[in-house]
């Protein structure tokens, strides 16, 4: 799956780095608790979250993630967008809720980072 596939599946809007939409992503993590993202998942490339603060971008940075998806209509702030641009991360926004977003991606073959 590519970042562009995620955009299509979630009917999402691209917020930044539309030049990186062809990157392959094999796994994802959905959480509003950044400590859980840091604890339980390895090798995940996509973070789905409803949390909006700069630590979302930092967490994704530490985990080498390629893409952050903001669910349920949440939108990142300008400083967050700048941070993501500098770190080569695509940001997407979807109106879908967390459960629905994760479900749709799972249905299309995306899995959690632990492989479970």
């Amino acid at each position: 799956m590519t970042v562009n596939d995620i955009k299509e599946i979630l009917q999402a809007e691209i917020i930044c780095r539309d030049d990186l939409m062809d990157r392959a992503v094999n796994s994802a993590c959905g959480s509003d608790m950044m400590s859980d993202v840091l604890a339980f998942v390895k090798e995940q490339a996509v973070l789905l979250t409803g949390l909006v603060n700069p630590q979302v971008v930092r967490t994704a940075e530490m985990m080498d993630m390629h893409c952050i998806v903001f669910v349920r209509g949440k939108r990142p702030t300008l400083d967050m967008i700048e941070m993501a641009e500098d770190r080569d991360m695509v940001m997407l926004c979807t109106e879908l809720e967390m459960f629905t977003s994760c479900g749709r991606l799972y249905e299309k073959g995306l899995r959690g980072g632990s492989g479970k």
Binding site: D32, M33, M34, S35, D36, L38, A39, T49, L51, N53, P54, Q55, V56, R58, T59, E61, M62, M63, D64, D79
Partner: protein, 141 residues
């Protein structure tokens, strides 16, 4: 690498949005040095959790990083309130962080356990009213 590389950071205690800046800088430095991605991620996550802890609990602190031929050593020192019960603090899910921190995505009681999980050696020295010093190292494969 014949000589070790030393880095020093001051973590401001009053700005949650900047927490993680030092970890990001160390991550970039390690990448430039060609350290393995696995070791880089372990260092980045352990140090990032430490930075967040410093801001949440201790009013900031200082971090020293030493990169040697075979490992990366980190010393995170603060002059915060200290940890009353270390074994409890090491338990996954136990947290003394206030609710406003939880609304920012932290305070799940995973900070110290995560730091231990991602490091190859982990030591805590803490004294109530004096502060806490964490010594961590990550081996370079």
């Amino acid at each position: 690498m014949s000589e070790s590389i030393k880095l020093h950071y001051v973590v401001p205690g009053d700005d949650f949005t900047r927490a993680g800046a030092a970890s990001g800088d160390v991550k970039r430095t390690l990448k430039q040095l060609g350290i393995s991605p696995n070791a880089i991620r372990n260092v980045a996550i352990a140090m990032y959790e430490g930075e967040i802890n410093m801001v949440i609990h201790a009013g900031g602190g200082e971090i020293d990083v030493e990169i040697t031929e075979d490992k990366i050593n980190m010393v995170l020192a603060d002059q915060g309130p200290g940890i009353a019960d270390v074994s409890l603090a090491m338990k996954e899910g136990y947290s003394t962080a206030p609710d406003n921190i939880r609304s920012l995505g932290f305070g799940a009681g995973m900070g110290l356990p995560n730091m231990k999980k991602y490091s190859d050696s982990f030591e805590i020295e803490t004294e109530l009213g004096v502060g806490t010093t964490l010594k961590l190292s990550v081996n370079i494969e």
